[in-house]
Amino acid sequence: MNSTFLLDAQGVQWGDFLFYLVTFLLLIAAIKHFAWDSIAGMMDKRAEKIADDIDSAERNRIKAAELAEQREAALKDSHIEASQIVDRAKKNGEEQKATILASANSEATALKERARKDIEQERQDALEGVKNDVAELSIEIASKVIQKELNASGHETLVDSYIEGLGKHNETR
């Protein structure tokens, strides 16, 4: 008689079948209620979160790449702009230099012209002055020569008339 086998002298203990049926179903229900719902839900939620994180990381990566590209382009543009600005500044400077030089040249010419005119004027004035001096000098020389002649030759009449004239002159005064 071996009770472990399905059939023995006492027949099948089919109560065990009912017992295991109920026990196993109860075990499933209990595990579902107390453990499975929370842990499986959490595992699903985690899987979802990981998938979300991967997606958002991918999106962020693409966005970052776009931004980097934009920055690159902006940098290139700014390089071009900077060189343009430098070029313009150079051209401006060049132009300014030319105008300044031209104006300085013309001013210098004008100054030289005026100076030349002034010098001419001075020379004219000086010549005028010299002319006057020469006239005076010549008159003085002439008067001195005349005096001397008077003394030497004794032009009495001339001296007399002069003296006479002087006397008249004094009378009228």
């Binding site: 099948v12 203990q13 109560g15 179903l25 499933i28 929370s38």
Partner: protein, 237 residues
């Protein structure tokens, strides 16, 4: 293993007390273990939650290898509970054997064919119902018995019973033989005093380790095969 069984009759139904107590202990151990592991569930798993999730992932993997995810989802809890219950049942007899006189009250529940047949019966019956619910009665008959060709119907019919019997009796045979050999080694140890006790100790240890291994493998094999049979019912081939 010529042990007597205490059979009680309740409402005219015969119950094997040893088998029922063992099954109750196994179910309580499984529930207490899972209940303890599943306290304080967090998004970022730590400690025992990691362990529980490892177990669940393992049984989910068994289900996944048998059928696609969208069909398999509903069987995950079943596979997990089945695996845990069979695993604990297999090892229970290795850890405790409680006997008064000739009657064993606590042993491996799976060392009784009634237990394994019941478990296989529950799952396979459920699979038939799920299949019928999913395809309708005619679709279920067509899918389960008339495909790939109607000529196969008798073979398919027989297969339902052979599948059920082989999967249950394989588990029973493995665990029962393990316990028989352990008992035999125990008898051998006591038979001729010290001269047989000393060589029996390493022998017993080796066989217990092997039974532990067998019990784990058989729990895995049982769940895997059951899930394959379930997939045949609920999946279009």
């Amino acid at each position: 293993m010529n042990e007597e069984a205490l059979v009680l009759k309740l409402f005219g139904i015969p119950f094997n007390v040893g088998n029922i107590l063992s099954g109750l202990v196994a179910a309580l151990v499984v529930f207490a273990f899972i209940f303890w592991l599943s306290r304080d569930v967090k998004m970022k798993p730590t400690g025992k939650q990691n362990y529980l999730e490892f177990l669940i992932d393992f049984t989910n993997g068994i289900v996944k290898s048998a059928m696609p995810d969208e069909i398999g989802r509903q069987f995950r809890l079943l596979a997990f509970t089945l695996f845990m219950f069979i695993f604990v049942s297999n090892q229970l007899g290795l850890m405790i054997e409680f006997a008064i006189g000739d009657i064993h009250y606590i042993k491996s529940p799976t060392a009784s064919p009634l237990t394994t047949l019941t478990l296989a019966f529950i799952v396979l019956t459920m699979a038939h119902f799920v299949g019928a619910k999913k395809f309708g009665l005619w679709g279920y008959v067509k899918n389960s018995f008339l495909s790939p060709m109607p000529m196969m119907a008798p073979i398919s019919m027989i297969e339902q019973f052979t599948n059920f019997l082989t999967v249950a009796l394989r588990l029973f045979g493995n665990i029962f033989s393990g316990e028989v050999l352990l008992t035999t080694i125990g008898h051998f140890a006591k038979s001729k005093g010290i001269w047989t006790t000393i060589p029996a100790i390493p022998l017993e240890m080796i066989w217990q380790g092997f039974s532990l291994f067998i019990g784990t493998i058989q729990a895995y094999v049982f769940v895997t095969l059951i899930m394959v049979y379930v997939s045949e019912k609920v999946e279009v081939e």
